[in-house]
Amino acid sequence: MKNRNKIDRTKAPDTTQPAEIEGNKILKGIGVSAGVAIGQAAVIERLTTEIYPQCILETADIDTEIQRFEAAVKDAANQLKEIKKTIGPGHPLDNHLYIFDTHILLLEDRMFFQGTKELIASGRQNAEWALSEIIGRITSAFDTIEDEYLRERARDIHFVGERVLRILMGHSEERRSHELPLNSIIIAHDLSPADTAQFQGERVIGFAIDMGGRTSHTAIMARSLKIPAVTGLEHISRSVQTGDTIIVDGTTGVVIVDPDGDTLYRYRDRQQVFLKYQESLMGYGALPAVTADGECSVRIYANVELMDEIEIALGHGAEGIGLFRTEYLFLGRKDLPDEEEQYGVYRQVLEANRPHPVTIRTLDAGADKVSPALNVGKETNPAMGLRAIRLCLKRRDLFRTQLRAILRASVHGNCRILFPMISCLTELIETKAFLEEVKQELSKEGEPFSPNVKLGVLVEVPSAVTIADMLAKEADFLSIGTNDLIQYAFAIDRLNEHVNYLYDTLHPAVIRLIRQVTAVAQATGITVAMCGEMAGDPLNVPILLGLGLDELSMNALSIPMVKKFIRSMTIDECRELTNEALQMQDRKEIHDFLESWIRERFPEDYFALHSQQTNDR
């Protein structure tokens, strides 16, 4: 914990076994639903499609075989309908009910239903054989899909097919959750949504699955159910026996089989802390971020990239979006998104957050974020090359389309525009002039747009910090992007393991850079926000308030804790701490100082923070 600053959050979670729990059987997967579960393994046996009878039918038997298949499909549909019925309105899974409709429709789908029947007839194959072949053909057709989420839907046809196969082979329907012992942890190779729905209820307290990632149905449903889950464990279904004692830590992705007494004790403790803590913390999300003395109020926003993060953001108490990244619209595809597509997305985001503000960052492509459609040539030093606003000013066609889409969407909510990588005043003035041009174009066409769109500069290059006063005159707000600012200030690539030890949000140089910007805010009255990872680290809260930031935008999950901290401190306290920190010359000194203060002041949160750190992605 002392070297907290050395935790590199840009890397995948550490997959080595934590030394403290050596001696137990430890499996490492992906933590997809937070919390700790301690219970007994319930291994769900499943046939795989590799094992099925094959035989060539007599002509006379073909019709009977087709009827047998039809009956099995009908049974499968009825089973799904039954499971669907168990999930009524208000059930934690009611948002996922559509999956059952999808699966029922898949059973009726021509390719699946007719396809199998035709193969039984033409190939004279028995139903199991024909069906397995059809499942194989359909799933391999999904393999070529580029979009990861759509490609993953091959799992759905697989689940549906296996249900029919089980019926054909006379396997009885799987154990229901009420037949499981209390405190069961479901262990399986893979779980369909129907399985997940069935194996929930008060007897099931955790999931540990071989397959799957963050977007698997099990992961999504487990989060809705608030049951700890780890996926991507690869072999757990083969290495664990029903009845084994299992610990599932859905926060870190660790599963421990047959833990020793010490480990059990430690995890029970962790579980209690997590439960109590979660409960108390979520309450803070809905409260305003005002210091205990009522003197200082900070607006707390979320950083968002995908539409489906918005609901989570609002649920955790975001008062708007401080950074809406638009790159995902452009990357991972061969063409460019047109105005209508962009307009649709921006409008959706604005409407979902109304009346809260949404800060749309214009395309921040280039460097590591490139798309073939953008046609950026190879650069020897892309991090310092044609990217972000530089690229947009060079590729006006692209920029025009985006600005038109944002402006047109602006009438649907509270819209702000943030320009990334501004490094000099001319750039900002040029950008604003171009925006004016686009506005006039829209006016001429009679397209409405909001006249109140606020313009912000993303301060992420050291040159922008030094001329913050000049930029402030031309902008409505400044937003400090600490991730890039630190990299450029220290001339380090934080993904480079040889130099990333220099990356530190609490280095005196970083604190001084921020102070330089907030000093401009104090002098001019301009709003100063922060949208880098630094803003979402609760340990930094006293310093950020002490420095005078008006808005903090962060990963939604950090919001409740940050709000709690703000509400428990006084602004005088924060200023005092900041002044003291500003006297220190060594980053480690600053860290230890802040940490010991937080530890003393918020012992509970400090502990929870510590246990969550390992899961920070």
Binding site: H96, Y98, L106, D109, E146, I220, M307, I310, E311, D338
Partner: protein, 96 residues
């Protein structure tokens, strides 16, 4: 007068945040049950029935994809409109 076998076609852009994914595909197939016309969706050289969830998923229409909707029979225009709305304004979703 609309002729019995007239073919309607319209270019559409998928603009909801996730493309034609499971939820949207399911809705399209469910809504198509209200219509008697035949509707197909075409992307590049792939043509699939709007009544097939599998077909719609295999179309791999990620966000931004241009597709053509083709319909023949009664209610063709309305059916295309329904699809257009479903691939454009999907309500915000928590979990895809």
């Amino acid at each position: 007068m609309i002729k019995e076998n007239e073919v309607f076609s319209k270019s559409l852009t998928v603009t909801n945040g996730l493309g034609i994914h499971a939820r949207v595909a399911t809705k399209i197939v469910q809504r198509m049950q209200e219509f008697r016309c035949e509707v197909t969706l075409i992307k590049d050289d792939v043509e699939v029935s709007a009544r097939s969830v599998l077909g719609l998923l295999l179309l791999a229409a990620s966000p931004g994809t241009e597709i053509v909707a083709k319909a023949t029979g009664p209610g063709s225009m309305e059916a295309i409109d329904v699809i257009d709305r479903l691939i454009k304004n999907e309500e915000s979703e928590q979990n895809r």
